[in-house]
């Protein structure tokens, strides 16, 4: 057949660019692989596993693409059948037809899928066909698009292949801007599409529906609010600096929280002489058991009968019967109101909305779209369950948070376990460091404090006071010394004295302050601690995202070794000051991927808790 040759050569050319297209079930079985079917090079490394581990399981499945080494990956789901379609290509090549191809493959494969079958060799021919068609379409589009490229804000809303175009889709603008600055553009659609190709993935479509315009009364992405945000960022640094001088102006009133016994003794000043020298006879402070060891009883019956009030179903009686009968398939439009309600609820709980709330909701939407509703379930309850699972997954730690066992392992290796506390100004590093020291002491471990905050006046004295009350050694070198060197010497000293744990206190620093971040990076790289604990307060709002990303970024950029040490854990402070606005925990964990190891809930030594994931999820969705 004479015309087969050109298509084969074309196919060979194409297959070089698209490395692999993989279809697998959510349970993990590969159903069809283009590498195995068409013959091709096996992928280097295992990008698919990396994709699953760092993206899909982290609830970032609404992202447009993922890249690993020099592979770029794109994916789409079929939620009803539980299938995932992943395309892998060379990252440097911008392949325009990937989304298109994924959508076509999605459609075709769902028709031939059968849960009992495990081999789909006949799909190979269909795939070849689809691939050629998609490539052809992309060529046509490229030629067609040339004159339009000069208007970057508009994009092609017409598309021959994807039938679910919603009117007036604006996607290219989202490429460059985050957090829309234009009034009429949906530029925080966020997902980077390749040169305006309509993204067949669900994520883009979501935002369009919501942002009707700047005067929307949900006001989620109000321009004014965003401008306020920008102004707020500028005033935060001055506020933080002012905070330091405030405490001595406030009057000391005996504050009684709900279920804590009142402290009779208010004056903790030790009877020292005027020069502040140590008085030798001190009784070790014991204030009882640290709350880390108390078990929190979570009520297992979490039947909350609250309905989501804002689910306006304009479809009428028939849809109600349909949902009872259990035949309706979940559409994007159905999920919108329920998701919006959930998102608003999350926002009232202080979850950062600027990017992550939305990404999370999109990820949940992506996992629900196309699913059949079970009988007698409403859409809002399905969405709620899915969101609960997603939140549970995010907050479940990926690595072990049992410090005690890690300390034991380090003990066996004969060196002390080093924890470094980092964070911005005024979040409670020194206070919580003392609480952690108290808790470790209760578990019969020997602790040393290292005063590497050589900048702030009173920092070393503060730690000295704590050390005196807890009767533990402190390594200090006074002020104006290089913190990295002080830390190094402290660790050497501790290992000489056979101390189990070294707690290193650092000065608070703003995430934008370049020289201070460099100094921090130097400290961490020089000493290679076992745990880098980011201390963040639960009161923080949108700044949490900024803080964590910038800290991680600076630590990664300024490190001299290829595998940089990033933030390993989070310590959430001032948890007692928020009633149920616990969203900061979620934002921080979602952004950084680090688990919350401790929660500080008060100012005495025993006020340190573990994060109770189930109760947080319950509170967030109440």
């Amino acid at each position: 057949m004479p015309d087969l040759n050109p298509s084969i050569s074309q196919l060979i050319r194409l297959s070089k660019m698209l490395e692999e297209l993989l279809i697998f079930t959510r349970g993990g079985l590969i159903l069809w692989s283009s590498c195995q079917a068409l013959g091709g090079a096996v992928l280097k490394g295992s990008p698919i596993d990396a994709l699953i581990r760092s993206c899909l399981l982290e609830e970032r499945s609404a992202d447009a693409s993922f890249s690993q080494d020099n592979y770029g990956l794109k994916w789409t789901f079929h939620n009803e059948l539980g299938l995932v379609f992943v395309a892998v290509y060379q990252r440097i090549l911008h392949l325009l037809y990937i989304d298109d191809l994924l959508a076509a493959v999605h459609k075709e494969f769902s028709q031939i899928y059968d849960p009992k079958r495990t081999d789909y060799y006949d799909f190979t021919d269909i795939f070849r066909q689809l691939h050629l068609e998609a490539e052809a379409r992309a060529e046509v589009m490229k030629k067609f698009k040339q004159p339009i490229v000069s208007r970057p804000s508009q994009t092609l809303s017409h598309n021959k292949t994807a039938p679910k175009v919603r009117g007036g889709e604006n996607t290219a603008g989202g490429n460059n801007k985050k957090g829309g600055s234009g009034k009429d553009e949906d530029s925080d659609g966020g997902s980077a599409t390749f040169e305006g190709k309509e993204n067949s993935q669900p994520c883009v479509v979501v935002k369009r529906k919501e942002n009707g315009g700047p005067k929307d009364n949900n006001g989620a992405f109000d321009v004014n609010k965003l401008q306020n945000l920008r102004n707020k960022k500028k005033t935060v640094p001055t506020e933080n600096r002012a905070k330091k001088t405030k405490p001595d102006i406030k009057k000391k009133v005996n504050r009684v929280w709900d279920d804590k016994p009142s402290n009779k003794k208010l004056d903790f000043t030790d009877p020292a002489d005027e020069r502040g020298d140590e008085v030798t006879d001190h009784v070790l402070v014991t204030q009882g058991e640290s709350m880390m060891d108390k078990d929190e009883n979570v009520s297992s019956d979490s039947e909350d009968e609250e309905e989501a009030q804002d689910a306006p179903k304009k479809k009428g009686w028939f849809s109600m019967f349909q949902s009872i009968a259990g035949n309706s398939v979940l559409e994007k439009s159905d999920l919108q109101p329920a998701l919006k309600g959930l998102k608003d609820r999350l926002m009232t709980k202080n979850v950062v909305c600027r990017g992550n709330c939305r990404k999370l909701c999109e990820s949940v939407a992506a996992s629900l779209e196309g699913k059949k509703l079970g009988s007698f379930t409403r859409i809002s309850s399905t969405v709620q369950t899915a969101m609960e699972e997603a939140l549970l997954r995010i907050l479940t730690p990926r690595r072990s948070i049992d410090i005690l066992r890690d300390v034991q392992s380090a003990k066996e290796r004969g060196r002390p376990y080093v924890i470094v506390f980092v964070g911005v100004n005024g979040v409670g590093k020194s206070t919580n460091l003392a609480k952690v020291a108290y808790w470790l002491l209760q578990h019969n471990l020997s602790v040393t404090l290292a005063a590497c905050d050589t900048f702030r006046s009173g920092a070393v004295e503060q730690l000295r006071t704590h050390a005196r009350r807890l009767q533990i050694p402190i390594f200090e070198k006074g002020y104006e010394k290089d913190p990295a060197v002080v830390a190094k010497e402290a660790i050497q000293d501790a290992s000489r004295n056979k101390s189990d744990v070294v707690l290193v206190d650092t000065a608070g620093r703003m995430q934008d302050n370049e020289p201070l971040m460099r100094a921090l990076s130097k400290l961490i790289n020089l000493n290679n601690p076992d745990l880098v604990l980011f201390v963040g307060e639960a009161l923080v709002g949108n700044d949490a995202v900024d803080q964590l990303t910038k800290f991680n970024q600076k630590l990664a950029d300024l490190s001299s070794v290829p595998t940089a040490r990033l933030i390993d854990g989070i310590l959430l402070t001032k948890f007692d000051t928020i009633d149920d606005k616990v969203g900061a925990a979620l934002s921080m964990v979602y952004i950084s991927g680090a688990p919350v190891m401790f929660v500080g809930c008060g100012q005495s030594y025993t006020d340190l808790k573990k994060l109770n994931v189930k109760s947080i999820v319950k509170t967030l969705l109440k």
Partner: protein, 261 residues
């Protein structure tokens, strides 16, 4: 609304008078039949739920559980597997027994994902488990156990062995050393000794800590003695095989032992 209430009252009155008209014996017989049916249903459901027949495949991610699942079911692992995002649950007759004559009881096998974020899924299935197969990657074992920060195999196994449901119901555990077809795989004796040693360390560190235990945990072994798998109240055995080549006879024997045909 008023009309509805009135209508309902009229109907109730009519039903009452109809019932009064029937001879009393019929009513007693009807009531007895209903009561007996209810009792039978309750008894049947009680009996059914007391015999779990679920086998749970667990282990770290990358140890080969999904491969084993498909080997047991279909006799081959098809085109390969990736990290599972959801559990694989199916009731089937074991592949090697499909040719056997006579009635073979199907088993319900659940392959729980091993990724740390999905660890909560294990708690859903453990209460109904008749047996737990803990899959260990024999090739990668040393590295997996020594990692300070990740959830290592040893810790995972320790968590399973100390769950209250597992101990109370004496759920048997099979530690399956997978990937023995690879050259660098360790032997099952080595793995067994390593696991016992690590669990001993974990157990001791837990005892050395404060007396405030996590309520779900049970103390393992005999205090004062080195930990040994024979000290567990539930039966723990170690065996080896390879998922990719189909060498899964040890698993099949274990399943057959605990889920009667």
């Amino acid at each position: 609304m008023e009309e509805w209430i009135q209508q309902a009252q009229v109907w109730a009155g009519q039903a009452e008078s109809w019932v009064r008209q029937q001879p009393p014996e019929q009513i007693y017989v009807a009531a007895a039949v209903v009561a007996i049916t209810i009792l039978v249903l309750i008894a049947a459901s009680c009996l059914k739920s007391s015999k779990p027949n679920t086998i749970v495949l667990s282990g770290l991610n990358g140890s080969g559980k999904t491969t084993l699942f498909y080997q047991l079911r279909d006799g081959s692992s098809h085109q390969g597997t990736v990290t599972s995002m959801e559990e694989n649950s199916d009731t089937f007759v074991l592949h090697s027994e499909q040719e056997r004559k006579g009635k073979v009881k199907p088993v319900h096998v659940v392959d729980v994902p091993g990724h740390a974020r999905l660890k909560t899924k294990l708690d859903e299935f453990l209460p109904r488990a008749a047996g737990v197969i803990f899959v260990v990657d024999a090739q990668d074992f040393c590295r997996a156990c020594k990692q300070l920060q990740t959830l290592s195999s040893c810790r995972y196994l320790y968590d399973i062995l100390t769950k209250a449901t597992v101990v109370k119901k004496r759920v048997p555990v099979l530690i399956f050393c997978n990937k023995t077809d690879k050259v660098t795989a360790h032997s099952k004796e080595f793995i067994r000794k390593q696991l016992e040693k690590e669990i001993n360390k974990l157990r001791e560190s837990r005892n050395a800590l404060s007396s405030a235990d996590i309520s779900d945990e049970v103390k393992l072994g005999v205090p004062g003695e080195a930990f040994n798998f024979s000290q567990c109240q539930n039966k723990v055995t170690v065996s080896e095989g390879a998922g990719l080549t189909g060498n899964v006879s040890a698993i099949e024997e274990f399943i057959r032992e605990y889920v009667k045909a």
